[in-house]
Subunit: 222 residues, 2 copies
């Protein structure tokens, strides 16, 4: 438990650098933004930037990761007796997040709208989706009481992540390029439907609890 504050601080630094990188990429494009530019904007030495990222393109990954991590957290808290539509309705929406997180998501949406023109961003985005997929494996395995190495769990995680990715890309492009205003309820509905269709295992509906009524529940501990 010693170096934990350290690693959180490190993540914050990366995230902060990531925000500056995203902003500059959006303003001038990836090609016209140098590592020096990003470092200067964030007020750190160039060397520090390269300590945190292997390439300038990967500098946007923490921003993507942060979004998908918050989403994963919601899924992790998902009570076993609620359907996915209820979960999304109860936990997803601009009014349910911190202002900073909302600003981050807006940045993400703008970045996703640029994927067709910026292959470098797509590469970072796909890598982030891969991370998300691995988180999904754990979440689905947990919810369905299956082993994490199970092929069917991995398959389901991959198809569900693909659905989330397509909805994110589609909604972002529609919003930024075509100015389509979609309500939170509509997006949630859209997302839930897509995940339902994509899922190869029945984890979207209430699942049987691990402990049946009448059984003794062990005290919660790490």
């Amino acid at each position: 438990m010693k170096g934990m504050n350290r690693s959180i601080a490190r993540e914050n630094t990366r995230l902060e650098l990531s925000r500056h990188a995203a902003r500059l990429f959006l303003e001038r494009g990836v090609a016209d933004t140098s590592g020096d530019d990003i470092a200067a904007a964030a007020g750190v030495a160039t060397r520090t930037l390269w300590r945190h990222f292997r390439s300038k393109e990967s500098a946007v990954e923490p921003l993507f990761a942060h979004s998908s991590l918050r989403f994963a957290d919601i899924l992790r808290r998902w009570p076993r007796d609620v359907a996915i539509e209820e979960l999304f309705h109860a936990s997803l929406g601009p009014d349910k997040m911190a202002p900073q997180d909302l600003a981050d998501d807006i940045l993400v949406v703008k970045l996703l709208a640029r994927l067709p023109e910026e292959p470098a961003l797509r590469s970072a985005w796909l890598m982030s989706c891969h991370i998300g997929e691995e988180q999904l494996i754990e979440i689905i395995a947990e919810r369905l009481d299956r082993p994490k190495g199970d092929f069917d769990v991995r398959l389901c995680a991959a198809t569900v992540m693909a659905a989330i990715r397509i909805v994110d890309e589609t909604v972002s492009l529609a919003a930024v390029k075509y100015g389509l205003k979609t309500t939170t309820a509509e997006v949630n509905e859209h997302l839930a439907q897509a995940v339902r269709k994509a899922a190869t295992l029945p984890f979207c509906d209430p699942v049987t609890p691990r402990i049946w009524p009448g059984e003794q529940r062990a005290p919660a501990s790490a």
Copy 2:
């Protein structure tokens, strides 16, 4: 129809460079292979390498793309009245391809087995899967007589591509790391099952022909 031979020649050059890049990446790892090394191995000037690829990692993409292109070609020839299992049984297998294509696929399998250790390769692989996904969109739209821009078609293409990717990764890792010998029939079965589970639209089974019996079929032309 003028520059067609040219562009084919260009693709061959890229593919040839790609094979050398893949071999070197496998032998020494990505980090210990320089652009100069790849160019020297292929017998071209370093400048030529950078004319064909934006980064040394992306130099393996044509190899991945070539595999997925041959797969896409099989799907494009897919008669409307056969199920996916029959198609795979009839067209997939080492005995059904040219020796060079087989060698390429072996290289691909070895590369996929390295994904856990080589994030740079994963990035190239995911980008190739994205190309494959776009081809799948056309194939599925064609087979189901739906527009290519249809959201449900895109969703289906994404989930199916995810399934193919997971099977490829799993089979490759099992074969290379754990020496598991799987028969062609087993892999085909595995692949067909995964695609079936993943598909969000019913394109795996025979579909109704565009022209019903008794109707006049227009002469085939581009």
